[in-house]
């Protein structure tokens, strides 16, 4: 029911979604984050904390399963170097009803942004720099604490 993958391989969306649907759900909500092709990044590299990353993602998924009535929660995160247009992260929530699936999907990606040990490095025209954390990510994650299960 909970599926966590952290790996350097490209994310195979069709098989991940098919796996989410196999839980017998009536509603599947997904979010895919991609390397944006429009802001001059030539290469994006994701570093992570092996072991701690998987444990953190599992806690995020378990927490979603406690808040909403879910049949499945999936988090797949790519690590290592990737190019514009490639998928960085995929999350899915499967539920009997769409409200639970949609809310849990938003929760998974919001929490993942602040609770899991990933760091992004961007290369633009040969110059490489680490991405700074965004206040908006912290705010997005915090609203789940402030407002309960919505």
């Amino acid at each position: 029911m909970i599926r966590i993958v952290v790996a350097p391989q490209p994310i195979d969306l069709a098989s991940e979604i098919a796996a989410a649907e196999a839980d017998g759900a009536g509603a599947v909500a997904t979010f895919t984050g991609l390397v944006r092709a429009d802001d001059g990044v030539d290469c994006l590299e994701l570093e992570h904390y092996p072991g701690a990353t998987e444990a953190a993602l599992r806690r995020v998924a378990e927490s979603a399963a406690e808040r909403w009535s879910l049949q499945g929660a999936t988090i797949v995160h790519r690590v290592g170097p990737m190019r514009p247009g490639e998928r960085i992260v995929f999350v899915a929530a499967a539920a009997p009803h769409r409200g639970d699936a949609l809310a849990a999907c938003a929760y998974l990606i919001d929490r993942l942004k602040t609770d899991a040990p990933f760091w992004k490095r961007e290369t633009r025209g040969g110059a490489s720099s680490w991405v700074e954390a965004r206040d908006s990510d912290t705010a997005a994650a915090a609203r789940w604490s402030a407002t309960g299960t919505e």
């Binding site: 984050g33 994701l46 570093e47 992570h48 904390y49 072991g51 701690a52 444990a55 953190a56 995160h77 960085i88 992260v89 990606i109 993942l112 942004k113 602040t114 609770d115 899991a116 040990p117 990933f118 760091w119 992004k120 490095r121 680490w130 991405v131 700074e132 954390a133 965004r134 990510d137």
Partner: protein, 85 residues
Amino acid sequence: MPIQMLYFAWVRERIGVAGEQVTPPDDVRDVAGLIAWLAGRSAGHAEAFADPARLRAAVDQDFVALDAPIAGAREIAVFPPVTGG
């Protein structure tokens, strides 16, 4: 008992290694103290740890505040705020 330190992202780059074993003196009791003590090991450590407000830490893979005690810790990671997903 030695502590396995792990460094990530620009903390790792500035220090120049991904990890090291250290044995801090007994008066180093929390993560902030450990960071201050490590800052004296090299110019790279000093640069990486110059601004503790920009650092986050995990003790035995649990994310903690910098005032968390380190007694009994086997693995401590120091890194910038996360930027995943």
